[in-house]
Symmetry: C2
Subunit: 142 residues, 2 copies
DNA sequence: AATCTTTTTGCAACAAAGTTGCATGTGATT
DNA sequence: AATCACATGCAACTTTGTTGCAAAAAGATT
């Protein structure tokens, strides 16, 4: 099963024309293993002293640009990242799903099946993208 | 008309049991004059060298706690603040309106009349607060 | 108006978060 | 194996946010 994961990681990187390196493999692995979104800090902690802080920044930046991950705005203005669905491509994301943040455990979860509803805006406003974040209690913490 | 504003500022501060000081008056004035949300940096620039950076941080913190302003999460994870409606009080905000961010001019606007719709979540999730941010083009930039 | 008390402010020092340039190391291609 | 482009680590730096404390200003009391 770990071999499967490794193959999957390789495939994702190749598909996005990225060379397969240690930090990229490790960070992508973290995302695949995690059920919630990750902050830059989380990744730094989990990779330990293995990689430079700068490398983590640049890797996340690269993944963002390639559409491998997307960032999530949170009410406390911290930066979170989560895997995109397969069909996100460079530049054009379509992760228009709701994000849920648990007030107790702090975990942020992509509700991939809950689509962000469109709302009617006042005249003059031309909407492009809708984002929705819900805070509350998750399954484990309620 | 400027006298009116000054009176209004005084009233807001008094109503919230805050002493009326130079920085609080000035920063509150900036919010009342602005039609969009303000970032910490905006405020620093507009107050010039008048007040210390730390004072701006603390003033915003105080206004937040008192329910005079609310913060807005943005897709690029910067921190924005905007005035609350009159009936927000300490701790309990009810600014459950949609926020609009223009991709051209960058202005962030409170759509006070557009209520955030509630969505049905998967079983197990207990929602508490819904936040919604829409990006696109504003009236002036479209 | 003068005095006392409480709160706010500015300063300095610090901590955390993020950026940039450049030399070196590694992965991909032939 | 040799080459070349790209990714990484390091150092130095900027930007952003925090904390403790003394001085200053605001509010209350006489
Ligand atoms: Mn997501
Ligand atoms: Mn608002
Ligand atoms: Zn939880
Ligand atoms: Zn605009």
């Amino acid at each position: 099963m770990f071999l499967m994961m490794e193959a999957q990681i390789d495939e994702i990187l190749r598909k996005n024309q990225l060379s397969v390196t240690g930090s990229r493999k490790r960070i992508l692995e973290l995302f695949l293993m995690s059920n919630g979104a990750l902050a830059h800090g989380d990744i730094e902690k989990k990779t330990g002293e293995k990689f430079d802080r700068v490398t983590v920044y640049r890797t996340l930046q690269t993944f963002l640009e390639k559409g491998i991950i997307h960032s999530i705005p949170t009410p406390d203005n911290s930066v979170l990242y989560a895997l995109c669905k397969d069909d996100c491509s460079e530049g054009h994301h379509h992760d228009n799903h709701v994000h849920f943040i648990c007030s107790i455990c702090g975990k942020t979860i992509c509700l991939a099946d809950v689509t962000v509803p469109e709302v009617k805006l006042p005249v003059g406003f031309l909407p492009h993208e809708y984002q929705m974040v819900v805070t509350g209690l998750c399954k484990e913490c309620r």
